[in-house]
């Protein structure tokens, strides 16, 4: 997959594999936004997310030659970062997802939106954090990263019906959290 203009992922990967280390920077720039969002929502902490994404990107670089289908680099990369997130979560006490440093919202950008950084958003963040990691992962990949169920299946290694069920349960939990708001 290629995000926007410029060389395709496959072309950039070929350059990196031929020895052009700096070319990997183009892949980082292309995907760091989505990966940061994914990891932040998975871990509930920007610091932990930064570590997980950085570890994932370094790991991806080291194993780039094993990316069998460079055209599907994005899902391959997400799979690596998702695994790093799971490792971070496994090192925490059960159910411990930090919301202390949840990312700030750009107030002006949100002025016209239905949600502001208010109780509602905090309820959403808390409801997302309270979800089981696999449901949280499915919801984030589907709704925040806009992946198809086929892509999600590649990232998670799960069957599509399983992923659909997880997304459904996550939606219902988030909607319930919104309904509890005053």
């Amino acid at each position: 997959m290629t995000a926007g203009e410029g060389p395709s992922d496959a072309e950039v990967i070929a350059r990196v594999l031929s020895g052009d280390v700096e070319a990997f920077g183009a892949l980082i720039t292309r995907y760091e936004g989505g990966l940061s969002r994914f990891a932040t929502r998975m871990l509930g902490s920007r610091d932990a997310a930064a570590d997980a994404v950085a570890e994932g990107l370094v790991r991806a670089y080291r194993h780039l030659a094993s990316c069998r289908d460079p055209a599907r680099f994005r899902t391959w990369l997400y799979r690596i970062v998702a695994n790093r997130c799971k490792s971070h979560l496994a090192r925490r006490p059960v159910g411990d997802v930090s919301l202390d440093d949840a990312p700030p919202m750009a107030a002006q950008e949100l002025a016209d939106a239905q949600f502001e950084r208010t109780d509602q958003l905090e309820r959403l963040e808390r409801a997302l954090a309270m979800l089981a990691p696999e449901k949280r992962e499915a919801f984030v990949l589907k709704h925040l990263d806009g992946m198809s169920y086929e892509e999600m299946s590649v990232v998670t290694g799960e069957r599509i019906p399983t992923l659909k069920m997880r997304v459904h349960r996550a939606r219902e939990a988030l909607l319930a959290a919104l309904k509890e708001s005053p």
């Binding site: 280390v21 920077g25 936004g33 940061s36 370094v58 939106a113 939606r171 988030l174």
Partner: protein, 203 residues
Amino acid sequence: MTRNLDLRIHRALDGELDRASLSPEELALVERLDAAAWALSDVPPVPGLAQRVLGIIRRPLESPLERFRRWVTSPHPVTVSLRPVYSVIIAVLLVALLWRSPASGPSLADHEGVAQFVARFPEAHSVAVVGPFNDWRPEATPLSDDDHDGVWDARVILPAGPHEYMFVVDGERWVADPMAGKYVDDGFGRQNAVMEVQPVRSE
């Protein structure tokens, strides 16, 4: 309270059902979830991420030997978990060990005491104490003046009781301690100082 949503709403959210076919209530729920996802998706990127990653991958990989060397030479937190009962046992053993250990230096027998020899010789380069306890050998018991204030001293464990002694200054000048409270004739026309050593467990 979580309740199951109508499957039509899920299908509309998944793009499998035209939203125009939804009722106003169903459409409101779909839009509410869309808005929730939109709000949650506003996460700024991690600053400096690209530089951090490129900085790591530009460095050559460490060899296994280098990794091992770094591992053994860098500090690692070590956590020891103990049952409270073992903690108490260890504490008791340590206290018992410290109780029985001498604070420093050799231990004293009941009949022994510590003789402290102190003399002021500001111009001296060396001072020693001699007496029957060291066979009058000047090299046996030197005094020290660590702070170079001209006051020399030494502590010696001796049997309790009176001990004759002399100071030997710079290896050649024999001097009776002018501060001694008692002196005895040495039989050669001079006097030796006498120190009364008290047994350490006299009380």
